[in-house]
């Protein structure tokens, strides 16, 4: 594929916000370079089960957009690549250095048949299944990956050469080297999304200490169409959990770990998962331990009421995970505030931690002569959120989606399109001189 070296817009991060912004800009005729550090675009949404409150299949919404972005004539996709340096030379004039990490697979030749995956003898933990299943050292990131091309994970590869011998397209190429691209762009959209809170920072909730304490992202994988086990099973012994507890606000609204804000999504995704669990395991009891249920969006309150009516128990009170009993069940302690504040102990087969969203703003370090301001928690600062929501402290650099703060999928889409529109206005004024 011949690479041009000048684009209208560079979009950093190809999650749902980055893809949406790229599609809007591409449709409007702007040339977009979409850079993603993972082997596939799609971000976190591609891994989710359903969206709330409509229970639409998340991958059924994300996949067509991913494919559209990959095949759009105005969008150039760079996966497995990282932006290394950005210099602002003037308005609508940025010099960008991008590192193309070697996949050891020829992208044009690879057909995504998966034979390399079958023959590879090395099994390592699968980060896209949140460590609940193994993958090979030669692998396709996940089932609905775009582009659906293999990657050789050289850190774990034993260089046995099986994939190279067996590949029918002769696409394996161990001679690839890291490559640095230098491009010029007129504007930049940061859409790096968020990180999940690491629950080991809160040992009270037992993550790492008890095997059957998992994060909600792991539960979403268990419920997704591309799920690891084809059923909801708990990690320790593969048993179908019959009593499942959710602990909300893990790492959100928590000054102890430096995240005083509400992550906005955890209440609703937990409620969504409760409904899905009732579908997947009709006999299971689900209890959601909450501080406050924040069902603020359109249709959220109704969704919450419906879940309550379906039989999910909502218990006000924060839970402490005491220990793991002999059967691997999780013993918890909590103050049941609806029952006069009585201290209770209970045992659950599986405990799910509704982990919050954390800032993912490391990208700001690559900007050399301009400084992108962060807010007090570390999200990228929207300097004028009321009038220009996508504007950062640097003209010509915009922000979209969760990079600016936690939000749900519809809000990310709206913000991505806002960033795209503001980007066009900026380019028209400074690059094409089409100011009205």
């Amino acid at each position: 594929m011949k690479q041009a070296n000048e684009y209208d817009v560079l979009i950093i991060g190809a999650g749902i916000a980055g893809i949406e912004a790229a599609l809007t800009l591409g449709d409007a005729g702007y040339r977009v370079l979409l850079v993603e550090k993972e082997g596939s675009i799609g971000g976190k949404m591609a891994l989710l089960s359903k969206t709330f409150p409509t229970l639409d299949c998340a991958s059924c919404i994300a996949t067509p957009k991913m494919a559209a972005a990959a095949h759009h004539p105005n969008i150039t996709l760079l996966t497995y690549s990282e932006v290394q340096e950005v210099v602002k030379n003037g308005e609508a004039d940025f010099s960008v250095k991008i590192l193309k990490k070697p996949r050891y697979v020829d992208l044009d030749a690879c057909t995504g048949c998966g034979i390399c995956e079958t023959v590879c003898p090395v099994i390592v933990s699968d980060e896209f299944q949140y460590d609940m299943r193994g993958r090979k050292a030669a692998y396709i990131p996940f089932d609905i990956a775009v582009p659906k091309k293999a990657i050789i994970d050289l850190d774990n590869c034993i260089l046995c050469g099986s994939c190279e011998r067996e590949c029918p397209a002769s696409a394996i190429d161990f001679t690839q080297e890291p490559e640095t691209l230098e491009v010029k762009v007129g504007a930049i959209i940061i859409a790096t999304g968020f990180k999940l809170f690491s629950p080991t920072l809160r040992p009270e909730f037992g993550y790492g200490r008890c095997k059957n304490v998992i994060t909600a992202m792991q539960m979403d994988r268990l419920l997704a169409p591309t799920r690891p086990y084809n059923s909801v099973l708990r990690p320790l012994d593969g048993k179908e959990p019959m009593r499942i507890a959710y602990i909300l606000c893990v790492g959100s609204r928590d000054r102890k770990v430096g995240n005083p804000y509400c992550s906005q999504i955890c209440c609703m995704y937990s409620i969504k998962q409760a409904q899905l669990i009732m579908g997947a395991l009709p006999l299971a009891d689900v209890a959601i331990f909450y501080i406050d249920i924040r069902a603020f969006g359109k249709g959220f309150e109704e969704f919450f009421n419906q879940t309550q009516a379906m039989g999910t128990m909502f218990i006000k009170g924060r839970v402490i995970v005491v220990e793991e009993d002999k059967e691997g069940n999780v013993v918890v302690k909590y103050e049941d505030m609806d029952d006069g504040g009585r201290l209770k102990e209970d045992t659950f087969d599986l405990v799910v931690l509704a982990v919050g969203a954390m800032p993912n703003s490391d990208i700001t370090k690559v900007f050399k002569n301009v400084k992108i301001e962060l807010d007090e928690v570390g999200w990228i600062k929207q300097v004028d959120p009321n009038n220009n929501p996508a504007t950062t402290s640097v003209p010509g650099i915009f922000v979209a989606g969760c990079a600016a703060g936690p939000k749900d999928i519809p809000d990310s889409i709206v913000e991505a399109d806002a960033a795209a529109a503001q980007c066009m206005a900026y380019l028209n004024e400074h690059k094409y001189g089409r100011k009205r």
């Binding site: 609204r253 000054r255 102890k256 501080i291 909590y334 009585r342 201290l343």
Partner: protein
């Protein structure tokens, strides 16, 4: 009907719970508390009472005294609201409220407490000066400073004073906490049996061994607290033995044959040994807490109210001077021993006279609360 005191939270905040209004009532503190139990939950409920101004509910909660401020709640609180400090401040508040006529308020104001302690010290000093005898500098004889009769009478007066006030304030506290009694009625015989049984549980497990305290995470703090308590007890025993030796066992020795067989000097030796042990561990315990409150490296010692300092320093001075008397007698420095004895009497006087209204009172209130709690537990166990 529940009466609310809208100023309650302001008053409690002044006593040390500065951040408590940040609480969003998640209940993590109650769940993580090693001492929280069914029917006796703490501390979230106490926070709600304080914020809502439910003064009677707060003062009726024996839970205030079931907490030993290990600080686990404050360490895990997601709002940094410091629930442990609220419990501590509420205890200070209830010492004021349980005291007769609210007189303890004086000892929870920095200036007033220092002024009243100075006044009390002057009274004690004047008393010693006015009633002093001629000192015997060839040996240490406490009765050559103050006569046997004077010490005897003053001791009796103070003992009666303490007993009466402790009883009245104990009743006042009981009238509050009886509202927290659990439901259920037992036959009178079982009630008496349970009352006695729980009393002995409190006496041996709580008063003498502070077993509940040991459930808190920091063992060194538990040991130091126990050291102060036993330092006090041992020094008290040593003082009594010395007193018995010098007072010739109240003249009983002449009356009973069997007592004549006892060598009187054994009391002196015993008093010396027990006194030195008690003095050493008491000094260790009080220095531990003074040091901790100075370096503020722990949750409970981060903030010290004036009343904490007054109490700690007085205890330290009483134990130290008592200990130094022994040292100076041992080294034959009798004049210094007399000086220490006078200082010891003054500090002990300050400590005892103010005891029912200062932090010292926590000893009594805590035992009543634990007794109440043990009794209630027996009630529901059947």
């Amino acid at each position: 009907m529940v009466r609310t005191n809208p100023n309650l939270i302001r008053e409690i905040k002044k006593l040390g719970a500065f951040d408590i209004t940040a609480c969003y009532s998640c209940g993590e503190c109650t769940a993580i508390c090693p001492l929280s139990e069914n029917n006796f939950e703490l501390p979230r409920m106490m926070i709600r009472y304080s914020i809502l101004g439910l003064e009677d509910k707060l003062l009726s909660s024996p839970q205030l005294w079931l907490c030993y401020y290990c600080g686990e709640c404050s360490e895990s609180c997601p709002r940094d609201a410091d629930p442990g400090a609220l419990m501590m401040a509420a205890r200070r508040y209830s010492i004021i409220k349980y005291s007769l006529g609210g007189i303890a308020r004086i000892f929870y104001s920095k200036i007033m407490s220092i002024v009243s302690l100075i006044v009390l010290s002057i009274i004690a000093g004047l008393g010693i000066y006015l009633f002093k005898e001629s000192l015997d500098l060839t040996r240490f004889d406490p009765f050559s400073l103050l006569s046997y009769e004077f010490i005897h009478t003053a001791g009796l007066v103070l003992a009666v004073y303490i007993a009466v006030i402790a009883l009245l304030q104990g009743i006042k506290m009981y009238n509050y906490i009886k509202h927290s009694a659990l439901e259920g009625n037992l036959p009178a015989g079982t009630k008496v049996k349970n009352l006695i049984k729980s009393f002995f549980i409190v006496l041996f497990r709580e008063a003498l061994a502070e077993q509940r305290y040991s459930k808190c995470e920091r063992q060194s703090r538990y040991v130091a607290h126990l050291a102060i308590f036993w330092g006090f007890i041992l020094l008290f025993i040593a003082t009594t033995l010395d007193y018995l030796k010098n007072s010739n066992i109240l003249g009983l020795r002449e009356s009973y044959e069997i007592l004549k067989a006892i060598d009187i000097e054994i009391f002196g030796v015993l008093a010396r040994i027990i006194g030195i042990i008690g003095g050493l561990i008491g000094v260790y315990g009080s220095i531990y807490f003074i040091y901790k409150r100075l370096i503020k490296d722990d949750v409970y010692s981060e903030y010290s109210h004036a009343s904490d300092w007054v109490f700690l320093v007085l205890i330290f001075l009483v134990i130290l001077t008592g200990f130094l008397i022994d040292i100076f007698i041992y080294t034959n420095m009798f004049l210094l021993a007399y000086a220490m004895f006078a200082a010891h009497l003054i500090f002990a006087f300050d400590l005892i006279v103010t005891a029912p209204f200062t932090k010292f009172a926590h000893f009594g209130y805590r035992l009543i609360a634990v007794w109440f709690y043990e009794y209630q537990k027996l009630k529901i166990s059947k």
